[in-house]
């Protein structure tokens, strides 16, 4: 079985190019999504370049403090997690330039690397000693265990279907018309995975972890200045990185940046559409939700696979 070959130095500038495109795309996309959310709520919303403004503002703050080594490293872990996830997954199918470092590992690597940033962030936030940070981490971890379960089952069903764990090969198997997408060849697994997509995008009804706006809760509580700038950078690229995984696994991947832009936006909008019209779950409610609705679909997916 032939997999992507080894390493060449030219891959580094190529990977940086991928990162640059994803970063800017993410900056605009998340702003547009926020604007859509605002319009649904009857507000005008932010300008589409607001993310850049925030980034520059946080980056240039002059007062900055730290609580210790792990606190300092937390955002580094977080951003490395986001960038790494992009780097370990091929972004554009069939493009030599945007295979990134996918030769280092397969689907399993992508699934587990998601936790790298989470863990580092949680540790950093923990050292700040702020109880709200720890509270947010506790909620986030508790929720994600249940939310990721349907995805794990869907991925298992999928890898049985294609008999491979290589993302490139899974995408290759879906080429030749949209009816070859996993969405149509294995709709049950796709639905199961979408439970996880909605559950881990930190949007309502599953956003009690960071509880935006009304209470300053969650891991970022104590972070400011360049720390927050790093985390904001991650916040625009990480959802894209995760969506790319979903796109590759269930929606046929993308063979050009145009296709990439449309598909990522459309997939991301699933969680947005659900989010803007639903109130928030408490953590134990979302755990029960995933176990009573998400898990059975996933179980069905692995049984029929």
């Amino acid at each position: 079985m032939s997999f992507a070959t080894g390493f060449h130095w030219v891959q580094i500038p190529y990977a940086l190019l991928t990162l640059f495109i994803v970063l800017n795309y993410g900056m605009f996309m998340t702003a547009i999504v926020r604007k859509i959310g605002a319009r649904v709520g009857g507000r005008y919303g932010i300008p589409v370049w607001q993310n850049y403004i925030d980034l520059v503002k946080n980056w240039s703050l002059r007062s900055k403090i730290h609580h210790g080594v792990m606190f300092y490293l937390g955002p580094v872990f977080r951003l490395s997690g986001g960038i790494g996830l992009i780097m370990f997954v091929p972004t554009i199918y069939g493009s030599v330039m945007h295979q990134n470092f996918a030769f280092a590992g397969d689907l399993v690597l992508a699934l587990y690397f998601v936790f790298f940033g989470t863990l580092g962030m949680a540790l950093g936030a923990g050292e700040s000693g702020h109880p709200y940070s720890a509270l947010g981490v506790s909620r986030g971890l508790a929720q994600v265990t249940a939310a990721e379960l349907p995805l794990a089952l869907a991925v298992y069903a999928l890898s049985l279907q294609y008999q491979t764990l290589s993302i490139t090969e899974i995408v290759a198997a879906q080429q030749g018309g949209f009816l070859n997408w996993t969405l149509f060849t294995n709709p049950i697994a796709t639905v199961a995975a979408l439970f996880a997509l909605v559950g881990t995008m930190m949007r309502s009804p599953f956003d009690v972890v960071v509880a935006p706006q009304e209470i300053p809760i969650g891991p970022p509580t104590e972070y400011h200045s360049a720390y927050l700038a790093l985390m904001q950078t991650n916040r625009v690229i990480f959802p894209i990185a995760k969506t790319v995984v979903y796109m590759n696994l269930f929606f046929g991947g993308a063979s050009s940046w145009g296709e990439f832009a449309i598909k990522v936006f459309a997939i991301y909008m699933i969680s947005v559409v659900i989010g803007v019209v639903h109130p928030r779950f408490r953590v134990e409610q979302s755990i029960r939700f995933f176990l009573t609705w998400g898990m059975p679909v996933g179980v069905l997916a692995i049984l029929v696979a």
Partner: protein
């Protein structure tokens, strides 16, 4: 010192004679045991009755992996049980737990004895390799008895209730011995069992499938119970149940990668569990508590212990780039050719659950708010730290070059299964299976470069950040001043308890408790015969001799 020399010497002496599987177990038992003995130097003065039982246990373990016949195996099993019992008994409050340990072990030993007796049909000596040729009618019973016996040691769910207390109350350097090393004896037994007997059907039910389910349930419920513990050592003990569940699961999958998975868990579990037990023990010696919510913020006073716990939990949770990820990768490849699919549901959810209790362990002890009474604490004892640092180094090395250890075993296991199911190890570090690929060196390099780059960017900007005092946090309208009320630690995963806590009801404990009560009632009944009257006893002895004589006569004729 002598003990260490003996263990290492015995290992170097026997090194050549082991097959790769024995070699891995042997290395863990002997070299690993020697490493843990280094930690024993932290106790000053004499320790009466520590080294003899410890060496007895190791002797038993060393005999176990070399045993050829059922008698040798059983004798080794008994020796290690006795040794470990006295070791566990040394803990300050471990008496009831040691009792329940020895009860379960004895029960297990009887099951094993009965299993061997049934298998051999009275013929001695009975070679272990002859297990494969047991008559079909007896085979399932032999399998069940032996498996049940071995599973008392691996503390599979249902037979697990002795473990948390026994491991948690044992002494600091005993916990890693009984957790990191002793549990592997049961696994080794199971390994011999499935290796020799293969699949055995009992009324149409494949018994290895039952083992898969037991393994998956142990992995899930052990993890779930671990996240609700307030006691750090109990948390680790429950996590052992979960980890051994994984190993049992891998073993019972009965395919090439499943066995490799079990073996990776054997190695990894020894390293990180010993490391974490030593670390937590070191903390206990300083803070005099094992309750996590009574600690907090210890990172500043015990940085080395923190590093060892950090590496331990990253490795254990399976996050790349450390060695736990290798285990997960092999796991995914192993289940691709598994026959059962439903148990995966439990395994999939127990992965993230492991994440929960591990984060809790590190957060509530080392992060958060430092307590006033802990401000003057010192770093843990150097003798406790030394083996931990060796293990950290090993974990990093094993993460980078797993092939150095696993290659030969992989080839060895390949002898039991059809060709082409194993892994391909390339010289550049890439590892390829039938389904996927993985390159630990590349992963480590990519993550390292990204991490360092981002870190340098942050330093360039925030190198002049001001270090602030403990309570300098953004807190609306009030200024916190008591660590106890600011440290979020007790009942850390409250929502989880609300959603899934019902699964941790002590049903099994209740079952064994009821059984014990029934036994007591029976004992009270038989007490009427054992009345304490000398004449009655004399009558018993006479009756015994007579019956024995009659039986012997019958057997001879």
């Amino acid at each position: 010192m002598l003990a260490i020399t003996v263990l290492v010497a015995w290992f170097t002496f026997r090194y050549g004679a082991y097959d790769p599987l024995q070699l891995i177990f042997g290395a863990i038992i002997l070299l690993g045991g020697a490493l843990i003995f280094v930690a024993s130097f932290h106790v000053r003065g004499q320790r009466l009755g520590f080294y003899p039982p410890a060496m007895l246990m190791y002797a038993g373990l060393a005999m176990l992996i070399e045993a050829q016949s059922s008698f040798g195996f059983f004798a080794a099993w008994e020796i290690l049980t006795i040794g470990s019992y006295f070791l566990i008994l040394r803990g300050r409050e471990s008496e009831p737990h040691a009792l329940s340990y020895i009860l379960f072990s004895l029960g297990g030993a009887f099951a094993i004895l009965a299993g061997f007796a049934l298998a051999s049909g009275g013929v001695q000596p009975f070679a272990l390799t002859a297990l494969g040729s047991v008559a079909d009618s007896a085979a399932p019973y032999v399998f069940i008895l032996l498996a049940a016996g071995f599973m008392t040691k691996t503390a599979s769910i249902g037979l697990h209730i002795w473990l948390p207390g026994a491991h948690a109350e044992a002494e600091t350097d005993v916990s890693p011995m009984v957790s990191g090393i002793l549990l592997k004896a049961g696994l080794f037994g199971l390994w011999v069992l499935v290796m020799q007997m293969g699949r055995v059907e009992f009324h149409g039910l494949d018994l290895t499938h039952v083992l898969v389910w037991i393994g998956a349930q142990s992995a899930f419920l052990g993890g779930l119970m671990a996240i609700f513990q307030e006691d750090a050592k109990r948390l680790l003990a429950y996590s052992s149940i979960s980890q051994m569940g994984y190993a049992l699961f891998g073993l019972a999958l009965m395919n090439h990668l499943g066995w490799l998975l079990a073996l990776m868990f054997v190695i990894n579990h020894y390293v990180y569990k010993s490391m974490l037990f030593l670390a937590v023990g070191g903390v206990y010696h300083r803070t005099h508590t094992k309750l996590m919510y009574k600690m907090g913020g210890l990172i500043t006073v015990m940085p080395f212990t923190f590093v060892s716990v950090l590496i331990g939990i990253i490795a254990m949770s399976g996050v790349p780039p450390l060695s736990g990820f290798g285990g997960r990768w092999v796991f995914y490849n192993a289940i691709m050719s598994a026959e059962l699919r439903l148990p995966m549901v439990l395994i999939f959810i127990s992965g993230p659950i492991g994440f929960l209790y591990l984060f809790r362990l590190i957060h509530t002890t080392f992060l958060g708010q430092l307590k006033d009474e802990h401000r003057a604490l010192k770093e843990a004892n150097g003798w406790l730290l030394a083996p931990q640092m060796v293990m950290v180094a090993f974990l990093l090395g094993f993460a980078l070059l797993p092939g150095q250890v696993l290659r030969r075993v992989d080839a060895y296991i390949g002898g039991f299964f059809p060709e082409g199911q194993g892994l391909e190890w390339s010289s550049t570090g890439a590892i390829t299976s039938q389904f996927g690929y993985w390159n630990p060196v590349a992963i480590m390099a990519v993550i390292g470069v990204i991490f360092v780059s981002v870190f340098l960017i942050l330093i360039a900007k925030n190198h002049d950040a001001q270090k602030v005092k403990q309570f300098n946090i953004v807190f609306s309208a009030e200024r916190p001043f008591k660590p106890q009320t600011t440290h979020f630690a007790w009942n850390f995963f409250a929502p989880y308890r609300k959603a899934l806590g019902f699964l941790t009801m002590p049903l099994v404990t209740g079952f064994w408790g009821a059984l014990t009560d029934a036994l007591h009632a029976t004992a009270a009944f038989t007490r009427r015969f054992y009345s304490g009257d000398g004449q009655a006893y004399a009558l018993h002895v006479l009756a015994y001799v007579t019956i024995l004589y009659l039986l012997a006569q019958g057997a001879m004729s």
